[in-house]
């Protein structure tokens, strides 16, 4: 039963992964990637790793791929743009990396290492492995775990800074010419009481408009 299901989901996984790179339409490719993630989650479930399987769906299929799809849809990418130096470069790089990967796989197969290490066939704990993962994450791997969350936090703050940097200074930048000479110490909250010669009446109106 389980080997049968495993074979079925593995076949779906391989086929959808192939279609991700072979299909011309980016949206369809992204959808096949979602299918690949879901069948991978099914494989995890069959291997008794329920937590990893569910997190695979939540994180990859539910969050990351939605954002991918968003970008593809709303940039309105139709088909791949053909021709040009970039395409040639991309093709060349693809061939090189692909050749390296195939060589690696062939070497592993030749040495008989493809099967990987044998996992111990112990029965899973009664509560599933979620508790075990949580315990390890918050005891032995606490430091890497916290570092990872810090990295994510930095990425988030960075994204906010980048997007805000593009929108907010646009207002003052347009109104900057008369204000450039104004002393920096003038509090922006009280433009009417600012030093003379800074056109206090014009600046706030510009800001409101922006």
């Amino acid at each position: 039963m389980i080997p049968l299901l495993f074979a079925a989901f593995a076949a779906v996984l391989v086929a959808s992964s192939l279609l991700v790179i072979l299909h011309r339409n980016p949206v369809t490719s992204a959808l096949f990637l979602v299918l690949a993630f879901c069948s991978l989650a099914a494989l995890y479930l069959l291997l008794g790793a329920e937590f990893v399987g569910m997190v695979q769906v939540i994180v990859y299929a539910g969050a990351i791929m939605v954002l991918f799809l968003f970008v593809i849809m709303y940039l309105n990418l139709g088909h791949d743009v053909e021709g040009g130096v970039q395409t040639t470069l991309r093709r060349g790089l693809g061939w090189v990396v692909g050749a390296v990967l195939v060589a690696e796989g062939a070497m592993l197969l030749a040495r008989g290492m493809a099967l990987g290490p044998e996992t111990p066939q112990s029965p899973p704990p009664p509560g599933g492995n979620t508790g075990a993962i949580g315990l390890l994450l918050y005891s032995r791997y606490l430091f890497p775990f916290e570092i990872t969350s810090l990295v994510l936090l930095v990425a988030m703050v960075g994204a906010i800074v980048i997007t805000r940097g593009r929108t907010t200074p646009a207002g003052p930048a347009r109104a900057a010419a008369p204000r450039a000479a104004a002393p920096r110490a003038a509090p922006p909250a009280t433009p009417a009481a600012g030093p003379p010669g800074t056109e206090p009446a014009g600046a706030p109106a510009e800001e409101v408009h922006a």
Binding site: L31, F51, V66
Partner: protein, 331 residues
């Protein structure tokens, strides 16, 4: 044949199929009468009678509606992406049905007691975005696209608060299995210890199901009909079905997490499932009540509420619960 039936694998598959069929048809029946109930409730709230022509008290109205849907013309817009256009309505129904496989309806009345049941619910609700986004995009219609865009932004924003609001319950129950969570509420329901989380969960549930006052994806005054503008016939019917199935599923999860599931006084053990159905019916009525009494939020209000109110409150709730647990255990 007897040899096949003796095979445990075959038995497992057979039982699973029977349970699936029962749940599927039960849910479809409940959905069709939920639309009837919604119209009756709406009528009552607006001081009119609601549907009362087809059959006694209008009870055959859902059947007439479904027949009408089946016989309507099926229209596919010219510039549509045909395959995605067909897949999107199916994706609206599937996640809700899958989630229902882990909902404990009574003692020994669950399709499967998965030890990551709550995660399955979160995973399926995160997949629910696809149907609306894809429907909006594949229709090749600007209103549909705008509706899909709004809906995906809304659902992604509210998913976080929803996930965090369930964390308090998880900490109290100490398990991700929904059956264990129900068992942990035998003395008192988690709504007693987690009132804030319950309110957050309920609000996000309205947003996740795209129901009023969060029905911006289909705001008819601005977007014609939103993401399903171009859908007709039974494809539109599937979106409708999906909305109600999602409503039932999310109410079931709310009952399980906060309202004690099938726990309740008086009834003997085999009839406890009636408590679950009673609570579910009350929550579903609450959904309708809210829909017909509250105005729609503006888009910026929706985002403000999600990111600046609900998410910090849910985080605060997790922290307070953690401190409370630490204090209670440490004493």
């Amino acid at each position: 044949m007897p040899a096949l039936l003796a095979n445990p694998d075959a038995q497992f598959v057979l039982w699973a199929l029977i349970k699936i069929v029962v749940i599927l048809f039960g849910l479809l029946g409940v959905v069709s009468y939920l639309t009837f109930a919604e119209r009756k409730v709406a009528g009552h709230i607006q001081a009119r009678t609601g549907p009362n022509r087809v059959g006694p008290f209008g009870l055959l109205q859902p059947i007439a509606d479904v027949l009408k849907l089946f016989f309507k013309e099926e229209f596919i817009p010219a510039g549509a992406n045909k395959v995605v256009f067909h897949i999107a309505p199916m994706l609206a129904v599937i996640p809700a049905l899958v989630t229902f496989s882990v909902v404990p309806m009574g003692p020994n009345f669950t399709v499967t007691d998965l030890n990551v049941g709550l995660l399955l619910f979160l995973a399926m609700s995160s997949l629910g975005v696809y149907s609306i986004t894809l429907a909006g995009w594949s229709s090749n219609n600007k209103y549909a696209l705008l509706g899909g865009l709004r809906s995906s932004a809304q659902m992604i924003s509210y998913e976080l608060a929803m996930g965090l609001s369930t964390v308090g319950v998880l900490m109290l129950a100490g398990s991700l299995s929904l059956v264990d969570i129900v068992h942990a509420q035998q003395r008192y329901w988690f709504i007693v210890q987690q009132p804030l989380a319950f309110i957050i969960f309920l609000i996000t549930a309205f947003a996740e199901t795209n129901r009023a006052p969060f029905d911006l994806p289909e705001a008819e005054a601005e977007l014609v009909a939103g993401f399903h503008t171009e859908y007709s016939s039974m494809k539109w019917g599937l979106f409708f079905l999906g909305e109600y199935a999602n409503m039932i599923t999310i109410s079931s999860i709310a009952v399980t997490l906060f309202l004690g599931g099938w726990n309740g006084p008086w009834l003997p053990e085999p009839l406890k499932f009636l408590w679950y159905f009673a609570k579910l019916a009350a929550l579903l009525f609450f959904f309708m009540w809210v829909r017909w009494t509250f105005p729609r939020l503006r888009y910026d209000q929706l985002m403000q509420l999600g990111w600046k109110v609900l998410l910090p409150l849910a985080l605060l709730n997790v922290m307070v619960t953690a401190v409370g647990l630490w204090w209670a255990v440490g004493r």
